[in-house]
Amino acid sequence: MKWMSMKNWVLCGLVLATMTGCHPDLWNQDRYEPLESGASVFGEGESSARMLVEGTVPYQGAKLDDAYYRGRNTNGELLTALPEQMTLSRELLKRGQERYGIYCSPCHGDQGAGDGMIVQRGFVPPTNFSAPRLLESPVGYYFEVMTNGFGRMYSYASRIPVEDRWAIAAYVRVLQLSQNATPDLLTDELLNKAKNPPAPKVEAGHGAGHEADNHENKEEAKGEH
């Protein structure tokens, strides 16, 4: 009985052998994924994602509003209050706090003293937000610095959306207040707390939602300071 020729056996074996590692065309289709190399079309070392041609003008959403996009009013002066698109609220400050923690605290530190971990690793220390020059700077100044960069600090315009930059600028004001508050600003309850601080809690585990703290604890445990 000869129900399968030698050639078919060999083919069958080859199919079985390659089945696990085989990636037919459907796996990698003829289209670019984000950031895929565009070497075959644009030349060696080129990305498939292209830079905008110089002089490109957006056909919609042009950023003409100087106050909102650049932090300056029509006279070219830095804004002293949030632009009309932004509403100061607890939510905005919470958002600013979160985004400050992600993008700013590595250098500026959690309290804005300019002592973040990257500074401890050797980066140029930024000015303390409570320095007189910065206390007097209008809120538009912080927006402008985030947008254009300042000194050793690169621009964050491509990384932090406009509304988040305003939220962070508002939160910087919170930090400044927190470091320069006078007793008359406190409610009786808070004043009482400040005068009679509760005994520090000794916690066994990590508290929920304190990522930064966790990392610090972890590092101490590993002794890699």
Binding site: H23, I118, G205, A208
Partner: protein
């Protein structure tokens, strides 16, 4: 012996008697052989040779998540800025590296490819580790937005993303792996503000704090609550067109 002519005259046997047991043994042997081949094939299919799980690939620069995340406390989103908003999680541009490394380590030989990329304007060519097949529609942001944590997909028991000296793929991303969660996301879903907490996993200390905060006893109860609160439409999640469109 078989009688062929009906007269009781037996014909000389075609096969010697020993063939009977040989036939029996070869049936057993065939079964064993098939099982062995299937077993080996499946072992190969699940092995790092094919899945790439826990395999470090050659990269232009030996980037360490351990140094940046565990040791320096940098949030994922500092570099992966679009994870919350884009279907594509994103690899940071050279500008992001240079934000700190214009000052730190920039004179080191191993860092040269980044400096070269910065000066030439040609992007870094990292070796991709987590790559869905092109017939899979995958949106990164929806997973973040519905309370699936980074470490659920990017860490495993032996390799935690925040502690990786060299980055590796942590899960197989087989269809069965995806479906495990798509069938019942309540097993893994967590509060949205714990998504970036690398110490949160069902049953961990941080998870127990969440259970307490939500007034529930365990992951089962928290999961059921969050699936409802976050409008996760579980009955839709196993539709073919959710991932293949």
């Amino acid at each position: 012996m078989i009688s062929l002519n009906g007269k009781g005259n037996s014909v000389a046997p075609v096969f010697p008697p020993g063939v009977n047991s040989l036939v029996r043994w070869s049936i057993a042997g065939g079964v064993v052989l098939v099982l062995t081949v299937v077993g080996l094939a499946s072992a190969l299919y699940w092995s790092p040779l094919v899945t790439d799980v826990n395999v470090a690939k050659e990269q232009p620069v030996p980037f360490s998540h351990h140094r940046h995340v565990s040791a320096n406390g940098i949030d994922c989103r500092y570099c992966h800025t679009t994870v919350e908003t884009s279907s594509f999680a994103g690899i940071p541009p050279t500008e992001t590296c240079m934000t700190c490394h214009s000052v730190i380590l920039n004179d080191q030989e191993m860092f040269k490819p980044v400096v070269d990329s910065w000066e030439s304007g040609k992007p870094m060519e990292w070796t991709r580790l987590n790559d869905m097949p092109d017939f899979v529609y995958f949106n990164h942001s929806i997973h973040i937005d519905k309370g699936i944590g980074c470490n659920h997909c990017h860490s495993n028991e032996t390799a935690k993303i925040e502690d990786m000296r060299l980055t590796v793929k942590a899960q197989t991303f087989h269809m069965s792996w995806c479906l495990d969660c798509h069938k019942d996301p309540s097993q893994y879903i967590r509060p949205k503000d714990e998504v970036f907490n690398m110490d949160w996993e069902p049953g961990s200390v941080d998870a127990k704090n969440s259970y307490e905060a939500f007034g529930v006893a365990n992951q089962e109860e928290l999961g059921a609550k969050l699936v409802k609160d976050y409008n996760v439409e579980v009955e839709q999640l196993t539709n073919c067109s959710i991932c293949h469109r």
